[in-house]
Amino acid sequence: MSKLVIRELHKAFSKNQVLKGIDLDFSSNGIWTILGPNASGKTTLIKAILGMVIPDSGNISINGETITNNWKYKDKISYLPQIAHFPDNLTVNELLKMIQELRNRTGSLESLIKEFDLKPFLNTKIDTLSGGTKQKLNLSIALMYKNPIYLLDEPTVGLDPIAVINLKKILRKLKREGKLIIITTHIIPLVEELTDKIIFLLEGKIKFCGLKAQLQQNYSSKSLEESIAALLQD
């Protein structure tokens, strides 16, 4: 089991304080969803875990090892960026090969290519792919390795319903395998269906962190949507 711990994380972009003292213990594996309105700091938090954003203060550690000035730990993390944009003149196959060469590991792509129906596009140049196909390729890159931690930023954006169903199937499987999966999304039904725990960010602070049921119980609301609305008004 991977233990991801965040302590007193602060980050400002010039005068804009984006993260204001985030404390998080991803104490159990399973699917955690980071919710919050736009500009609440979700993407910055994910990027800080990946070492792309350098915190002003605070610490992030994985299994007791701090990630500051370290890059090797990223081998344990799979990341799905929000926007899929790849080198235009490479083919799908070349891009997949590139990522595997960079990671020095062969990924298990066969089932992903099948589930996301990418076979007809393997030798197609990326600039001719549709937005949805690019997102499927994005997902295949993120999910081709069995890693202990998955960070998925808005994973369902641009996907057709069949791809969403397949993605959910994969996520459930990863959950059963005991992986830590951290998702950001705005799609509440997806959260209701898959998530174990919810982190609600508001203006760079954690407004709620706990089980989904607990959130509903706190606000005695019927649906998650209502609880979130109540949380925002609180």
């Binding site: 972009f13 990027k47 990946l50 070492g51 792309m52 954003v53 350098i54 890059w71 090797k72 730990y73 990223k74 081998d75 993390i77 990341y79 960026p81 926007i83 899929a84 944009h85 790849f86 080198p87 235009d88 003149n89 490479l90 070349e94 590139m98 990522i99 060469e101 960079l102 990671r103 890159i141 960070l151």
Partner: protein, 260 residues
């Protein structure tokens, strides 16, 4: 680094930009040859095109590539690779693909017109090497500007201004200084100012190599009298190499501290 370099080079060399850039040089060189079959004349005409155009295309293309591949760079940053390897790899990929387009575009007509049996071959090689250096220098400068500016418009503006400054305005200021202080010995100042501008350096390097005194100008003459012909060429070439390494060092340094 080698993997990032390989794939970005492979991506770029098949792109529309590289192909158009190659065709541009090919056509220009063929047109120049159609005006004159004298290889040395064509080399001199190319000199002026290279020292103005190569920096412009390199800096503009470097900036565009950097901003366009922002999301992909973020994906690379999430992989277990050192940051410096990503940016140095991308820098080498762009600079090499632009240089290759230039080398082939200019080189092919020269081969066709018999450069290998001409006495101008060493001049021709110096022109191509200088053009290659300028590609590397200005792509590196583009990367520094892009790393320092998140705002595309600002970055693009700075890049064009920097080119305008080094290619045009710098010479004006230089001339003004020479006129204003013509009562003082200005050789050292002139030398210093030339070393600070890679475009001037390239021009002097090529002119010293061509040994055309009519084109040498004040700084060329100062270089010649201070270091002699060979010494001047050597110093100018060395300075160009320093002009690649220092910006490269800045790229590594800035990228290590920056948020993405």
């Amino acid at each position: 680094m080698d993997k990032i370099f390989r794939y970005s080079f492979y991506d770029l060399i098949r792109g529309r930009w590289s192909i158009s850039y190659f065709l541009f040089y090919l056509i220009i060189t063929i047109v120049l040859f159609s005006f004159s079959n004298d290889v040395s004349m064509v080399v001199i005409s190319l000199l002026n095109i290279i020292i103005v155009l190569v920096p412009l295309v390199a800096i503009v293309f470097g900036i565009i590539y950097f901003y366009n591949s922002k999301e992909f760079t973020e994906l690379l940053l999430a992989q277990p690779i050192k940051r410096s390897r990503i940016f140095v790899g991308q820098f080498l990929g762009i600079a090499t693909s632009l240089s290759l387009a230039m080398l082939l575009g200019i080189g092919l007509p020269f081969i066709f017109y018999g450069i290998f049996i001409s006495s101008e071959i060493s001049n021709f090689i110096v022109i191509l090497l200088t053009g290659t250096c300028l590609n590397f220098i200005f792509v590196a400068l583009a990367f520094i500007i892009a790393l320092k500016n998140n705002n595309k418009i600002k970055g693009f503006g700075f890049a064009t201004l920097l080119w305008l400054f080094l290619a045009v305005i710098y010479d004006g200021i230089f001339l003004l200084l020479l006129i204003l202080f013509n009562a003082y010995p200005l050789e050292r100042l002139a030398l210093g100012l030339t070393l600070l501008n890679p475009i001037d350096l390239s021009r002097i390097l090529i002119i010293l190599k061509l040994d055309v005194s009519a084109l040498m100008g004040y700084t060329g003459a100062v270089f010649n009298s201070f270091f002699g012909n060979i010494g001047g060429i050597f110093l100018a070439a060395l300075s160009l190499i320093i002009w690649i390494t220092i910006p490269l060092f800045f790229i590594i340094n800035i990228s290590n501290k920056r948020d993405f």
